[in-house]
Symmetry: C2
Subunit: 255 residues, 2 copies
C-alpha cells in the first residue's frame, strides 16, 4: 500500500506484485484532518482486504511523518518520479501543480529523479490561485477547465501575484467581460508561471503533468501553448505520489 497525505487531499493505492493496481482512493481532506485515516479505510473497504493483507506500507506527502505503522516514509519528489515513470515509462519532465505548490522534476533514462525545482512559498500558479479566482467568479473550481474551453479572446492578466491578479479579475468582471474569457486568462497566467519554473529544470521529451490541477484541461492546454509541446496527463494524475510509494513498498520487500 502507498499513501500520500498532501495539504488538501489524502490519496492511496493498493498494488499487487509491484505491477497491478488493485485499488485507488482519494479523499479531499489532507494531513491534519481525518483524511489520512479515511483514505486507508476506503482502500481496504473497496478492495475487500484487511490491513494485515498489506505486506508493506510506504507513506509520502506533507503528512508522512504523522502516520504510524509505515515501513518507510519517502519524499514526495521520489515517489512522484517513481509513480509517473510507472505510468509513462519514457517520461522526461514531470510538472506537478498541487494545492499549494508547484514542482518540476527532471527524470533520467532509468526513471530516476535527476533534478527538480519547486516553489511552495508563493500561491501564484498553484491550485490555491485557482481556488481564489473560482471564489471571485462564484464558479466551482472543477468547472474552470471546461468553461475556459469556450473562450474566444482570453483577457490579459498582467500581475502574477494572486492578490493583484484577483483585483484584475474583479475589474474584468465589473467591466462585464464574460467569464470564459476571464477564466482562460487565468489559465494563461498559471501556465506562464508554471512554464517559467519548468524551464528552469529543463523541458525534455516527453512532458507529463500530474497533481490536482492536471485535471483542469484549460491549464493543460495553456501549458502546451506556453511550452510549445504536447503534454500527457496520465489517468491517475492525482495518484502518482501514492503509486510511487506503493512501488517503493514493493521494492522494500524484495531487498
Amino acid at each position: 500500500m502507498g499513501l500520500d497525505f498532501g495539504s488538501t487531499a489524502s490519496k492511496g493505492v493498493v498494488l499487487k506484485d509491484g505491477k497491478e493496481i488493485v485499488c485507488t482512493a482519494i479523499i479531499t481532506s489532507g494531513t491534519g484532518t481525518s483524511g489520512p485515516e479515511r483514505v486507508k479505510e476506503k482502500l481496504l473497504t473497496e478492495s475487500n482486504l484487511l490491513e494485515s493483507d498489506m505486506e508493506a506500507v510506504v507513506v509520502t506527502g506533507y503528512g508522512r511523518m504523522t502516520y504510524k505503522g509505515a515501513k518507510k516514509q519517502i519524499s514526495e519528489l521520489s515517489c512522484h518520479a517513481k509513480g509517473v515513470n510507472f505510468l509513462v515509462p519514457d517520461v522526461g519532465t514531470v510538472i506537478d501543480i498541487g494545492g499549494q505548490d508547484i514542482k518540476a522534476l527532471l527524470l533520467d533514462k532509468n526513471g530516476n529523479l535527476s533534478n527538480f525545482v519547486m516553489n511552495d512559498k508563493c500561491a501564484a500558479g498553484t491550485g490555491r490561485f485557482l481556488d481564489v479566482m473560482a471564489g471571485v467568479l462564484e464558479t466551482e473550481v472543477s468547472m474552470l477547465g471546461e468553461i475556459s474551453m469556450m473562450s474566444k479572446s482570453p483577457v490579459n492578466i498582467s500581475s502574477t501575484c494572486t492578490v493583484f491578479a484577483e483585483s484584475e479579475v474583479i475589474s474584468h468582471l465589473s467591466a462585464g467581460v464574460n467569464k470564459e474569457d476571464i477564466i482562460a486568462g487565468i489559465h494563461i497566467s498559471v501556465a506562464g508561471r508554471v512554464a517559467a519554473l519548468a524551464k528552469r529544470v529543463g523541458i525534455k521529451d516527453k512532458v507529463v503533468m500530474v497533481g490536482g490541477v492536471a485535471k483542469n484541461i484549460g491549464v493543460v492546454k495553456a501549458m502546451e501553448d506556453a511550452l510549445g509541446k504536447n503534454i500527457e496527463v496520465p489517468k491517475l494524475a492525482q495518484l502518482t505520489g501514492a503509486l510511487g510509494a506503493a512501488l517503493f513498498a514493493f521494492e522494500a520487500l524484495n531487498k
Copy 2:
C-alpha cells in the same frame, strides 16, 4: 504645487518660496478615479488660492502621466527622496511602504538618491497585505496599529505569502487566539519582509519610514525590532512624494 497620484490615494502640497508648506491634502482615491482632480480642488479651496497663483506644478506617482498642465513629471523615487530630505535633513535610509509596493531608498549626504530597491510584484509586506488581514479580522485597517500594542505574545506567522498567511490568520482565529496577538504577528510578518528588502539597499543612520503604512505604529515598532534601530516617522509621512514634487517645481522655476 506638488501632486502625487498613487494607486490608492492622491496627495498634494502647496509650497511657498521652496520652504514654507502652505497647505496639504490627501484624498483616498488614487489614479484612474476623481482623486487627482479632487485633491487639486481641495488644495486650492483650503489655501484660498487660484490655479493661476501656482507658479509651477510638478506631478509624481503612478498616475503622473495622465495629468495635463504640469511643468514636469518626476519619478516617485526622486520626489520621495527630496521630500524626506526636506523634512529630515540627515536621513540615510528611507523605507516607503505603499498600498501596493515596498521601496527602500538610500540617500547620500546631500540628500540625493544613491540607490534603491523596490518590490511591486508581490503583495506580501505591502498595505494590501494589511488590507487583506484586516478584512479577515473584520477590523478597520486604521485600527490595527493601536490594537497590536496590547499584544503580550504575538503569534508566529510562518508564510510570507499573503494568501498562505491569510489561512494562518484564519486558523489562529478559529483556534480562539485573541486579535491583538494575531495582529502583532501580522505586523512582525510585514516587518520581516520589509526589513529584508531594506537591508538589501543598506541601513544607514538615520532611518525614516514614509508611505501610508508608516501611520501604523505596530508596523513601525516591529520594523525597529527587526532592524535594531530607531525609526523616525515624519508627520507628513504620506506626503513626501507630493512635497518632493513641490520642491522640484520650485527648483524648476529658479533654473
